[in-house]
Structures are given as structure tokens and as C-alpha cells.
């Protein structure tokens, strides 16, 4: 038990995303645009996010996209209720893309017809039987939901730091960039985690406002310990050859990766030269396994 929690802590500390195949159920909802430009933008971002999720999904049914006129209150609530009635989900990933508002007390996600309130969103998500949740509220004023949504086993990403940042946000655009650009994958494991996605988008937003010399009107926030372990996209061999890579090799790769995490946790307690010697051995071992995986995948693929 102690070993397991140590390992988990190491995983969080070292920032390595686990390699297990994703078992995500992804729901992407784009809300009311208010004008043609925003309507088109929100739909495009939502589609891109859903498309990227489908690439790594085990089944097409694991990705649900609701956009445009379909994004009505009854449909969204019905959808979330249905999810709560089914079998327990491993990981639910929910994206809300669009405009939000906050009147000082209540957050509302703007959709055609009556808006859906923050309380309703929180209630519906709390009712779901899931191991983990990632909730991305990429709307103006979404910071108002940060605290109400925060709980164990849930990672929350909002576009703003509070409900008073009411301008349209750029976060959805940078989220799309993050999951489609390999640069977001800082640990280079061909998996983009929620944490990596957020870090990429957060930097891009800061850079945008600095470059344009504008006062930043959005300050994205992330809450939740599990951000590094929730996968939002994958690419490269892991994506294209995943079916042909033997589980044994993937398991070996993960085992070495865990040893690296454990070693890194002990870095401060070990003599520096000794630490790097041990790290070098593990890294060489990992490189060897990685090479075999790449070759195995390629040869299977060639057949």
C-alpha cells in the first residue's frame, strides 16, 4: 500500500504520463456563438477536439459531440443523465466550448434556448459514476465554476481565474493547438496529458497577450492532482501502431518508466554522480525497449 502511494506520488512529481491505453469517454459541447464568427469558431474547435479524441478512442461511441442547435439544455442534461445510468466509466472528459456568464452568484453556459447553470453542471457531474473526470470549461467567466467543480478525482480547467473575466476567451483555440501539436508533449511519450495540454495553452495565452501588448483578460486555471495521468491525445507510433505493439513490451516500458520515477524521487538523497549513473542505466534500458517497440510496430505494420 505504501509502495503504491509512493509510486503514485512519484508519478505526479516526475510528470510522466502513464502509458496505459486510454479508457476515456469524451463529451464535447459547443454553445451559442451569438454571431456567425463565434458560432463557426466554437463548432470548429469542438469538432477538432472530438476528432482528436476519436483517434485514440477504443470505440467511436466513446466520443460524443454536441454542437450548434443541438446543444439545447434538455439534450445536454439528458446526455449526462444517460451517462450516469450506464456502467461505471473509467475516465470522463468533458469540454464546454463557448460563452459563459456570471451575475455575481450564478454561472451560466450560453446555449440555444434557456442557458444551463453552473449548479446544474456540477450536479450532473457529481451524479456520474466515474473513476476520474476531466472537466474543461473553456468559456468566459468560467473561473466562477472552479471552486464548485473542484473535488477529489476530478481535474478542472477553466479559461478564467474568476467569474469577473467576462470577455470572449482564446483558450479553446490553444487547447486545439495543444492536442494537435507534438510540442505540448514535453515528456515525449507520444501522449498529451491534461496537464501538458493546459501548460501549453496557458503559455500560449500569456505569450499572445504579451506579444500583442494587451492587458490579459483571461487567466486559465487548473485544479486537480490527476492532471498528469489523464490522457487527452496521443500521436506517433503509440497512435498509429498501438494495435501491433505487444502488451509485454508496453508493460516492460512502463515498468522501467516507473523505476525512473522512483529513482527521481530519491534524487536529493543520492550522490549526484551515483544518481546519474543509475539514471543512465535505466535510460539505456528504456531506449532499448523503445527501439524494440518501434521496430516491432514497424515490422508488424509492414506485414
Amino acid at each position: 500500500m505504501r509502495m503504491r502511494s509512493l509510486w503514485l506520488a512519484g508519478l505526479l512529481w516526475t510528470g510522466i504520463t502513464p502509458l496505459a491505453n486510454a479508457a476515456n469517454t469524451t463529451v464535447v459541447i459547443s454553445g451559442l456563438g451569438g454571431n456567425a464568427d463565434y458560432t463557426e469558431q466554437f463548432a470548429r474547435y469542438a469538432t477538432s477536439i472530438a476528432d482528436q479524441a476519436r483517434l485514440a478512442a477504443r470505440s467511436p461511441q466513446d466520443v460524443i459531440l454536441v454542437r450548434g442547435d443541438a446543444a439545447k439544455r434538455s439534450i445536454i442534461i439528458g446526455l449526462l443523465n444517460n451517462l450516469s445510468k450506464g456502467p461505471a466509466l473509467d475516465t470522463l472528459v468533458l469540454y464546454l466550448i463557448g460563452h459563459g456568464s456570471f451575475d455575481g452568484d450564478n454561472y451560466k453556459f450560453n446555449i440555444p434556448g434557456a442557458d444551463i447553470t453552473g449548479d446544474e453542471i456540477v450536479e450532473a457531474l457529481n451524479a456520474l459514476n466515474t473513476n476520474r473526470q476531466l472537466v474543461v470549461v473553456a468559456t468566459s467567466a468560467s473561473g466562477a465554476l472552479l471552486e464548485p467543480l473542484t473535488q477529489d478525482n476530478r481535474v478542472v480547467i477553466t479559461a478564467t481565474k474568476n467569474g469577473r473575466e467576462r470577455n470572449a476567451v482564446r483558450l479553446p483555440m490553444y487547447l486545439v493547438d495543444a492536442i494537435t501539436d507534438q510540442k505540448a508533449d514535453t515528456d515525449k511519450n507520444e501522449i498529451i496529458s491534461a496537464k501538458e495540454m493546459f501548460a501549453y495553452a496557458d503559455r500560449a495565452i500569456t505569450s499572445y497577450y504579451n506579444t500583442e501588448k494587451l492587458l490579459a483578460s483571461e487567466h486559465p486555471r487548473l485544479e486537480g492532482e490527476l492532471a498528469q495521468s489523464i490522457e487527452v491525445a496521443r500521436y506517433g507510433n503509440l497512435l498509429t501502431l498501438q494495435a501491433s505493439i505487444p502488451d509485454e513490451l508496453l508493460g516492460k516500458r512502463e515498468a522501467i518508466s516507473n523505476q525512473i520515477s522512483t529513482l527521481r524521487l530519491r534524487k536529493d538523497d543520492i550522490d549526484e554522480d551515483d544518481y546519474f549513473d543509475r539514471l543512465e542505466n535505466l535510460m539505456l534500458e528504456l531506449a532499448d525497449v523503445q527501439k524494440t517497440i518501434d521496430q516491432a510496430g514497424n515490422s508488424d505494420n509492414a506485414n
Binding site: I16, T186, K188, E190, E280, M283
Partner: protein, 775 residues
């Protein structure tokens, strides 16, 4: 309006009775003297107040307090105001004066005294209207006239104040306050004989009128100090008159400080607090000046004493806050190597770079490189070996730098040198491209040598002139950057005679005269170097150290008069800048037309006019130059090669706007000219190094062209900026080490890359290659 502003100034607060008394005397010294002196020279002062003044003058402190206290709550409002002022409660004094003026609106004396209160709290702009109102009531009211003169001298209208002072003094030759004000100005200009005459007249007048001579004694000490007489007889006289008269040491400090003599100032201030331990201003100044000598603990001790006695002194409070800020700074030690002409081997000098923790990692390589190069260059060029550690401080917050410099935020300086310690704005302290920080550092480092080689005795124009000249000759930015308004001043013959050039720095008479004086001083030094030889500048420094003034040093070293030098300067300017001075109006007109035309819709016009402007004055690359519109116009019509050529010429002449430099580097790289591109990017480091893109691109360019040391510097700096993906940076560092044959650091850094990103294929491949593990 005046009252609110006064109350909000933060300089004074109402204080309880018990708190006022312990700080009475220091505040008396600091605040009571409206014109910077200890004494009040109020011709209409009430007898009851004079009695208390006399007790104070004679050093009977407790008795003085007991004397003022009953008056501070007495029936007469203006007397109560004076007593409150003497007791240090300027807020109450202000309130009483306000009520006294309302009670006696036709009394010029009360208005003049109220003005003096504002003057004593460093608010000349609030004081001036009160003096003017008093003079409307009585145009010949001398106390108000003198107050106005003092206020003007201490404001932007200094020259007008000095003119009025001479006029008033001519009309009132025996007035002590006027004599003292004049003597002070003469001392500032090192006119010691004139100052002596004025002070002797003041002594006679004081004796005749039975007035305390303490201020006169203190200025006599100042005159002796400027003659390098350390044991002035006037100290003894002053202390015999008033044993706790700390001002006898405190007032002369001003003359050390304006000559950058901080060590000597500290010695005097220590004496001031010894004879008057409650002289909080002296403690404050002692703390501030110890900080200039890098004695941080000593500074804190005296500032804390000053704060205990007078918690409302803004200089004390600001500097204590700065000390807290300095806890976020990091000292990085390094060593400079240099060799003088006479040396057969290299010597070394310790250097401490004091940088904010947040920027130390990315900035220190550049600060170090430039500082070490400057020490090597200036030691050789000025034949002077540093005798103490050199401290280089860079402040990312401009107001912290301002407090470091003059103990108050809001000054427009870029850098200041206190001797072996220099402080300046960090490049992140101002918007990107706002200033060329490399040139500023170079300028300040040149000051270290001129100040220390002359033992702080060089005139202001000379140290500034050498620094500007060195910026142009040896600094990190090409070219002689003379602002347009300075060219205009030259065109309008506004330059000062060299013998009076210091006045352009300390007593400017028109708005941009300080800048004009910097440039003129630079041109004078450049001319001396070109016409007589650089070694003459070094010899002049030696003569200044021997206490020669400008006339004497010019005569003994160059063998000519300063008047001849003035004529030569005109010839030199004609030689170097004649092409623009002779066509100045035409050039400005063309330049204005360039900027009025649109490069995209009227490219042909812009190209024609910009070319014409650049033909007249090709070296002009600063704000509003013609090269950028020329580039834009060529771009607009698709002549990309010509556009690059325009930017390249701009860069070659010293253009340094970072966005344009990035653009030029990008275009040069596209043309396959990576080496030229890297040179351009390198130049951005001295303007705006706070850029991830810059270090990433330049590092990769250096890797490509085989400058692996340069690449390592760039990648290390990049890490200091906390890039999004450190693994790539570590991999590049490993590659640079590999190319240099440094295999251990190469392995270590490839492992750092993999520590960040264990599945990084390129890093894995390099690790396998470096370890020879091909399994």
C-alpha cells in the same frame, strides 16, 4: 487643494505627544530649516520663539523642548504653528498656519512662513504660490522673496532662481540668508574664494545682529573640506558654540556627495551622529551612503536607527524597503582579468553581479561577459587597476533602482555609479527596446575607472564625456548615437564653453540641456583623443587627481586654453557632423515627409525621400529614422532583396530596435546567411535579452555554424527563462558539449533531457551514441 496634497504627501503624520518629544531635535534640524540651513532667518519671528531657538542653538535640548511645548498649544495660531513645526509635527503646523491665514488674510508674514513650511518638506511647488501671495500683499517683503528664490532654486526653474538670487543679493548685500544661499551655490561650483568672501560678510552681519553663526560655520567647514582641509578650525568653533551641533558635519556632506565622494561622506556622517546621536537625517544619510559602499549590514543598522527616530522620512522608509527587496537578489561572484601597460602578467579583480533571482540565470552570462570585457578594456585604456571588488547591480523594477540611486522612486535615470558599485535598470525594467542596456552598462563601467582613477576628483563633464566616448569607441553598439534635439541644439549654437560645461549637467537652463551636455562632453573627449591622442585623456585624469580644474588640466596636458578647445570643438563638429548640421533643416523636412507617406500605398515616394534623407545623414538609425520606412516600402513592392539591404545598412550603422533585428535575422537566415543572422541576433542580447525565441534561435544558429561555446551560453540562458520544453534545450546543450569533445557534460545533459522526457527518441539516440551502447 494645497492642504490635501500636503496631508497626503506621506512626509508627515500627526503624532502623539510622547512620540513627538524623542524625535524633536532631529526633526528640528531636518524640517525647520526651510532653505537647507539649521537656523531660521525670520526677521519678524516672535520673541517667545526666538527664546526657544536660542536654547536649541546653544545645545540645551531639553530646555528647548520645554520652551516650545506650551507655545504649540497657545492662543496665537501662527506661533503655535511655528512651535508645532519646531517640535516636528508638520501636519499640525500646516493646520495651524491654514487657520492663521484665514484669521489674518492680509498678513504676508504668516503666508511666507507657511510657504517656508512647504519648502522644508520638499514641496517647492506648493510653497511658491504662498510666497507669491505674500508678495502681492507686500511686494517688498524680503522673507517671502528669499523663500521664492529658495523654492525656485530647488525646482525645475533653477536658473531663474539663481538670477533672482543675484538680483536680491545686490539689493540686500548684508542679508545673512542671501549670503548663505549664494555661498552655497559658489561652493557647489568650487568658487571657494567668492564663497569665503560671502561667508565672512555673513559672519560680520551675524555678529552685528546678534544671530547664531552656526550655519556660517558649517559652510566654512564645507569650504575647507573642498580645499582638502580635514581638520577645519570652524568645527571646533561650532561645537564650542553648540556641542551637539551635528550639522557642522552634516551640511558639508552635500559637497562630498555632489563630487561622488561617498567614503568621505560616510566619515563625516559618522562624526555627525557621534556628536548628535538623535540626528536622524544623518543616520539616514549614513545608511544610504553605506549602502552605496556595499556595506549592507551597516546601512541597515543606521537606517533602522533613523526610522526609530523619524518613521516618516521617505528616504529612510524607501531605502529600508529596498533592503527588503535586495533579499530577492542573488550575488554571483566572478573574476575579471586585466593587464596594465606596465605589467608583464595578468592581474585579476573580483566582480560581484547582484541580480534578481528571477532573472539571474538568463542575464548573468551577458552581464558577466560585458563586465569582464569592460574591465579588461578600461584597465588597459586608462592604466588603472581596480583596487576593490566591483559590484554590478541590475534592478528589474525601475523604482527600486531609483530608490537605490536617489532614495526616491520616479527618476528618469538608467544607471548610476557610486565608485566601485554601479546600479542600473535591468533590461526587463523597461519595455523591450526602450534602451540599449549593454551601452548603459558599458557607460557606467567606464565611470568606475574615471571616478576611481581620479579619486573622485574629475569634473562631471569629463567623467560623462569619457563614458559617452567609450560607448561610441569601444561599446557594444556601433555608431555615435546623437539624438535629433541635440543636433538641433548644436545647430542653434547652444553648446556651453568647455570650462563651464559642468553647469549643463547640474544647472541646466533649457529642457534638454543635460542630454546636450552629455553629447558635447562625449564629442570633446572624442576630439581630444583624435587630435591629441587617447593618452591625453588618461593624463588629464591624473591631473584631476592632482586637484587641477578643467582650465588647468587642459592647459597642462594639451598645452592650450579651454577657449582654444572650444574653437577646436566647432571645427571637429564641422568635420564629423557637418554633413547633417549644414543640411539640418532640409534633412528634418525630408524625414518628416518620409513618415507622412505610406510605404504600402506610396512606396515610390517613400523610397525616393528615404534615400535622400539617408544620403544626407546615413548614420541616423534611432527613433524616426528613414531606413525602416525604406525597408517597408521595398517590401510593399516585392523588392525583398532591397528591403533586406535597407535593414542591413540600418543595422550596420547601429540600429537596435529588437523587432526589426529579429526580422532582419530571419530574412538573412532565409537567404542562407546563418552567420550574418547570428551576428544580428547576438546584438539583440544587448537590447532585449528577455526572449525565449532569441536564445533558442541563436543557440541553434551557433550550433549550425560551429560556435559551440556561443551555443552553450545561449542554451544556458534559455533555461533561465524557463522554456516550455526543457528537454530539447538540454539535448542541444549535450550536442554542443559533444561537438567540443566534452563527453562527460554531454552525457550529463542528455540525461537531464531524458529526465524531463524519458521517451525522447533523439535524446535516447544521443545517449546510446555517447555511451557507445549499441545493444
Amino acid at each position: 487643494m494645497r492642504i490635501n496634497s500636503f496631508a497626503d504627501s506621506g512626509i508627515t503624520r500627526s503624532a502623539g505627544h510622547l512620540r513627538v518629544i524623542p524625535r524633536l531635535l532631529a526633526l528640528f534640524a531636518a524640517l525647520h530649516c526651510a532653505t537647507g540651513f539649521t537656523e531660521e532667518y525670520d526677521p519678524d519671528r516672535e520673541a517667545s520663539l526666538l527664546q526657544c531657538d536660542n536654547l536649541y542653538d546653544r545645545g540645551n535640548i531639553d530646555a528647548a523642548i520645554d520652551c516650545f511645548l506650551p507655545l504649540s498649544t497657545g492662543a496665537s495660531l501662527h506661533v503655535a504653528a511655528e512651535a508645532q513645526w519646531a517640535l516636528g509635527d508638520t501636519k499640525k503646523a500646516n493646520e495651524y498656519f491654514r487657520r492663521a491665514v484665514a484669521e489674518q488674510p492680509g498678513n504676508p508674514h504668516i503666508r511666507a512662513r507657511w510657504g517656508r513650511l512647504f519648502l522644508s518638506t520638499h514641496q517647492p511647488s506648493q510653497a511658491v504660490p504662498l510666497f507669491e501671495e505674500a508678495m502681492q500683499l507686500d511686494p517688498d517683503y524680503l522673507h517671502a522673496q528669499i523663500g521664492l528664490v529658495a523654492a525656485l532654486i530647488n525646482s525645475q526653474s533653477g536658473s531663474e532662481g539663481r538670477r533672482l538670487l543675484l538680483q536680491l543679493h545686490a539689493e540686500n548685500p548684508d542679508n545673512i540668508e542671501l549670503l548663505l544661499l549664494r555661498a552655497r551655490l559658489e561652493l557647489e561650483q568650487n568658487n571657494l574664494q567668492t564663497a569665503d568672501t560671502l561667508l565672512d560678510t555673513a559672519l560680520v552681519s551675524a555678529e552685528k545682529n546678534n544671530m547664531a553663526p552656526l550655519d556660517i560655520y558649517a559652510l566654512k567647514v564645507s569650504a575647507d573640506l573642498l580645499r582638502d582641509i580635514d581638520d577645519s578650525e570652524w568645527v571646533e568653533k561650532a561645537l564650542a558654540y553648540s556641542p551637539a551641533y551635528g550639522d557642522v558635519y552634516f551640511i558639508p556632506v552635500h559637497y562630498h556627495l555632489i563630487n561622488y565622494r561617498y567614503r568621505e561622506s560616510v566619515d563625516l556622517l559618522r562624526k555627525a551622529v557621534n556628536v548628535q546621536p538623535t540626528h536622524w537625517s544623518a543616520h539616514s544619510q549614513l545608511g544610504i551612503n553605506l549602502l552605496r559602499l556595499n556595506d549592507i549590514d551597516g546601512a541597515r543598522k543606521h537606517l533602522e536607527i533613523a526610522y526609530t527616530g523619524d518613521p516618516y522620512d521617505t528616504a529612510t522608509v524607501n531605502t529600508l524597503r529596498l533592503l527588503e527587496t535586495l533579499k530577492d537578489f542573488k550575488d554571483i561572484d566572478t573574476e575579471a582579468t586585466f593587464r596594465l601597460d606596465s605589467d608583464i602578467a595578468d592581474s585579476t579583480a573580483p566582480v560581484v553581479m547582484r541580480l534578481h533571482r528571477d532573472e539571474a540565470k538568463y542575464l548573468s552570462p551577458y552581464v558577466e561577459e560585458l563586465t569582464l570585457k569592460a574591465v579588461e578594456t578600461f584597465s588597459r585604456r586608462y592604466n588603472f587597476a581596480l583596487k576593490e571588488p566591483l559590484i554590478v547591480e541590475l534592478f528589474p523594477n525601475h523604482d527600486d533602482f531609483a530608490v537605490r540611486t536617489v532614495s526616491t522612486p520616479g527618476v528618469g535615470l538608467l544607471g548610476v555609479t557610486f565608485g566601485y558599485l554601479l546600479a542600473m535598470d535591468s533590461p526587463s525594467g523597461r519595455p523591450p527596446g526602450d534602451f540599449h542596456w549593454g551601452s548603459t552598462l558599458w557607460h557606467e563601467l567606464a565611470h568606475v575607472f574615471t571616478i576611481e582613477a581620479s579619486n573622485h576628483r574629475m569634473p562631471r563633464w569629463f567623467t560623462e564625456g569619457v563614458s559617452v566616448y567609450e560607448e561610441w569607441q569601444t561599446g557594444p553598439l556601433r555608431g555615435r548615437h546623437i539624438p535629433v534635439d541635440v543636433l538641433q541644439a548644436i545647430n542653434e549654437n547652444k553648446l556651453l564653453p568647455i570650462a563651464d560645461l559642468d553647469n549643463g549637467f547640474v544647472r541646466p537652463t533649457y529642457p534638454n540641456q543635460v542630454t546636450v551636455s552629455y553629447m558635447q562632453a562625449g564629442l570633446v573627449c572624442e576630439m581630444i583623443s583624435e587630435f591629441w591622442g587617447h593618452d591625453k585623456l588618461v593624463k588629464m585624469l591624473a591631473q584631476f587627481n592632482e586637484r587641477q580644474d578643467t582650465r588647468e588640466a587642459v592647459s597642462s596636458v594639451l598645452g592650450v586654453s579651454t577657449e582654444f578647445l572650444d574653437q577646436e570643438l566647432q571645427r571637429y563638429i564641422k568635420l564629423k557632423l557637418g554633413h547633417v548640421i549644414d543640411n539640418f533643416a532640409e534633412w528634418r523636412e525630408i524625414l518628416a515627409s518620409v513618415h507622412q507617406s505610406s510605404p504600402s500605398s506610396d512606396a515610390a515616394t517613400v523610397i525616393a525621400l528615404a534615400t535622400q534623407a539617408n544620403n544626407i545623414f546615413p548614420e541616423y538609425v534611432d527613433k524616426g529614422n528613414a531606413y525602416i520606412p525604406l525597408h517597408d516600402a521595398y517590401e510593399a513592392i516585392g523588392k525583398h532583396e532591397k528591403a533586406v539591404e535597407a535593414l542591413e545598412t540600418w543595422y550596420q550603422f547601429g540600429g537596435y530596435e529588437p523587432d526589426m533585428l529579429h526580422q532582419l535575422a530571419h530574412r538573412l537566415r532565409d537567404l542562407g546567411r546563418t552567420e550574418a543572422a547570428s551576428e544580428v541576433l547576438e546584438s539583440i542580447n544587448w537590447v532585449s535579452p528577455n526572449s525565449i525565441d532569441l536564445h533558442e534561435r541563436l543557440g541553434k544558429d551557433y550550433l549550425e555554424i560551429g560556435n559551440y561555446r556561443g551555443a552553450l551560453r545561449e542554451f544556458q540562458s534559455l533555461l533561465g527563462l524557463n522554456p516550455h520544453d526543457k528537454s530539447i534545450v538540454y539535448l542541444d546543450i549535450a550536442r554542443a558539449h559533444q561537438q567540443l569533445g566534452e563527453l562527460k557534460p554531454a552525457r550529463r545533459n542528455v540525461l537531464r533531457a531524458l529526465e524531463q522526457a524519458p521517451f525522447f527518441r533523439e535524446a535516447q539516440e544521443l545517449l546510446v551514441e555517447l555511451t557507445g551502447d549499441s545493444s
